[in-house]
């Protein structure tokens, strides 16, 4: 029997949902508001919420002092490149695990995922030395490689769960219809899995865009993405809240817009397989 939803219960849950939604969103809102304040007002107690002198000078200063577009381009190349390479490796890997699995497939998947459970700082020194000796420090290719390898287990795992949902019969039907493995992948599997592949890659793109640990440790200026750009505003000379907020707003804006337009895909991707 379905639970009866009374009007009162409806109002209470709607208010609660808006409250928690606002609570989660508040830091971002506060950051955006602060970015339009002067440095003095950013520190003011009590803080002013909406009634202050709005200014865009922080944005101009930030762009003058450190080149936003240089960092943004690095972020696009690093996040986009690592996602693309991860997809090229993960699609065939997930295909073989889903449709040509062996006794050890589940173990391999778990082992891959287990590497994500290791704290990154544990391997910082060896990786730093490796990158130094290979001349990969502060290079975009070096960052693409580390982010791609870091996210690969999640990408393979997610694609595997998507592919698993595709009925085997349909692939066998394609085989009976004369398709080679390659054509079966291109004409049947990929078109059917497009929603899954899209949300997986989108999630990977967001993870790579926001990744700060490796980008901060392995790059300084030439290959530095937006995470490094933000961090540069918390400097030894003191904190510049308003400028830091402006830099952060500029850094998260692209991914926020992307996330907004693809939220349906993302939610589907994150809850896929949870309910059958």
């Amino acid at each position: 029997m379905a639970r009866r939803v009374t009007a009162r219960r409806m109002v209470v849950s709607t208010v609660a949902a808006w409250f928690f939604g606002f609570l989660i969103f508040f830091p971002i809102l506060w950051m955006v508001l602060t970015s339009f304040k002067t440095e003095l007002e950013a520190f003011a107690t009590p803080p002013s919420f909406l009634f202050f002198e709005w200014t865009t000078e922080n944005y101009a200063t930030v762009q003058d002092r450190s080149d936003y577009f240089h960092h943004a381009m690095n972020s696009i190349i690093i996040a986009g490149g690592s996602t693309l390479i991860a997809a090229l490796i993960a699609v065939p890997a997930a295909w073989s695990m889903a449709f040509a699995s062996t006794k050890r497939t589940k173990d391999i998947l778990l082992w891959m995922l287990s590497t994500k459970m290791m704290p990154a700082v544990g391997v910082l020194v060896p990786i730093y030395l490796l990158y130094k000796n290979l001349g990969l420090l502060d290079t975009r290719s070096g960052l693409v490689a580390i982010l791609c390898l870091g996210n690969l287990p999640i990408v393979v795992w997610m694609l595997f769960t998507y592919f698993k949902e595709i009925p085997r019969d349909i692939l066998e039907a394609a085989r009976m219809d004369g398709a080679t493995i390659q054509r079966e992948l291109v004409y049947v599997l990929l078109p059917m899995a497009i929603p899954g592949i899209a949300s997986t890659l989108l999630l990977n793109l967001i993870l790579a865009w926001n990744e700060a640990f490796w980008t901060l440790n392995l790059s300084t200026s030439k290959a530095a993405p937006l995470t490094v750009f933000i961090a540069s505003y918390s400097s030894p000379e003191g904190l510049f809240w308003a400028k830091l907020s402006a830099a952060s707003t500029m850094a998260i804006a692209p991914i926020l817009v992307l996330g907004w337009f693809s939220q349906r895909q993302l939610v589907r991707g994150l809850t896929f397989g949870a309910v059958k």
């Binding site: 066998e172 085989r175 009976m176 219809d177």
Partner: protein
């Protein structure tokens, strides 16, 4: 041409033997049905012929050529799956045309063939729809269209009607049979439904636990079952089996009497029993008679029998239609 020959085909998954030494000769143009209880290996045998599973041992010949190492795509067979297995992202036209596209046929020829197949199956108005916009019966037709358009050496059907409702199943059963005769293409059809098997097949293969129990025409299987398993599996309601003294009288270990061959005799004539349940179907009456040490016997009589539960009856088997089986369950032929 589409002659399929199985020679000593064997299939095991690990230590488990699924198919044990299957030998069959399926003639060109024949409609052969694999029937058996679930888990008997009938679908596995079909998938071995299709090439979707590899044989563990033995040979599969299609028109005299051993195909065990030939991939499914190159065997020249088409298959209709239980789940239809239509490509959900393609239109009906795309689904039917897929095999021809893979074969690299020129577009005008593909269109001509697809339209001809669609016309045969009354699918012309639906050519531009997606599978999800079709009913179960229409989806089934698309799956069949996809199979016939390639003009294969043989059709393989894996329980294709089991997802349809009863009325549609009867209709599709006739359509599939008619189409197969019209195309004169060999068909191998898997089902667990013996009515489908009896009505559609030229010849039936009865499988049990991975073994071919009997291979013959529907009436041959009904009239001369090779062993106890086939005798019990073919025919509905099931054949009655009686062991002990009545069987010894006929020089057998077990005798089998079909429900339609048990007559209700006058008082004192034959085996006494009490009607336990009487089912009046209008055209037929099924009586379940408790015949003491002989066990529960099923009788199929005409609709006008007015017996009910608790009535005393005497049953006599038709001696000419008695089936005799030896100690190993094999039929004794005279």
């Amino acid at each position: 041409m589409g002659r399929i020959t199985l020679q000593g085909v064997h299939k095991s998954f690990g230590a488990l033997d699924i198919i044990k030494d299957a030998n069959l000769d399926i003639e060109d143009g024949a409609f052969v049905v694999f029937v058996g209880p679930s888990g008997c290996g009938k679908t596995t045998l079909l998938r071995l012929i299709a090439g979707l599973e590899d044989v563990t041992g033995g040979q599969i010949l299609i028109d005299g050529q051993n195909v065990v190492n030939v991939p499914p795509a190159k065997r020249g067979l088409s298959m209709v799956f239980q789940s239809y297995a239509l490509y959900p992202h393609m239109s009906v036209r795309g689904n039917i045309a897929f095999g021809l596209k893979m074969a690299g046929l020129p577009r005008p020829e593909i269109n001509r063939k697809v339209e001809a197949a669609a016309a045969t199956l009354n699918l012309t108005p639906y050519l531009d729809r997606k599978p999800r916009e079709l009913s179960g019966g229409q989806r089934q037709r698309v799956a069949i269209g996809r199979a016939i358009v390639r003009e294969p050496k043989a059709f393989l059907f894996d329980e294709p009607l089991s997802n349809l409702d009863a009325a549609l199943r009867v209709q599709m059963r006739m359509e599939v049979t008619k189409l197969q005769k019209q195309l004169a293409t060999t068909a191998v059809y898997v089902t667990h439904d013996q009515v489908e098997a009896m009505t559609m097949a030229d010849r039936i293969v009865v499988l049990n636990a991975g073994r071919v129990e009997q291979y013959g025409s529907p009436l041959e299987l009904y009239e001369r079952p090779a062993n106890l398993f086939v005798a019990g599996f073919i025919g509905s309601p099931k054949m009655n089996f009686v062991a002990g003294a009545p069987a010894s009288q006929h020089g057998a270990n077990t005798i089998g009497i079909r429900p339609e061959h048990l007559r209700i005799a006058g008082e004192g004539g034959g085996w006494p029993g009490t009607v336990s349940v009487a089912e009046h179907l209008g055209s037929d009456t099924f009586l379940y008679v408790d015949a003491a040490e002989l066990g529960l016997l099923t009788v199929r009589g005409i609709g006008e029998i007015h017996l009910k539960g608790g009535d005393r009856v005497w049953l006599s088997p038709d001696p000419a239609r008695l089936h005799r089986f030896d100690r190993d369950g094999a039929a004794i032929r005279t």
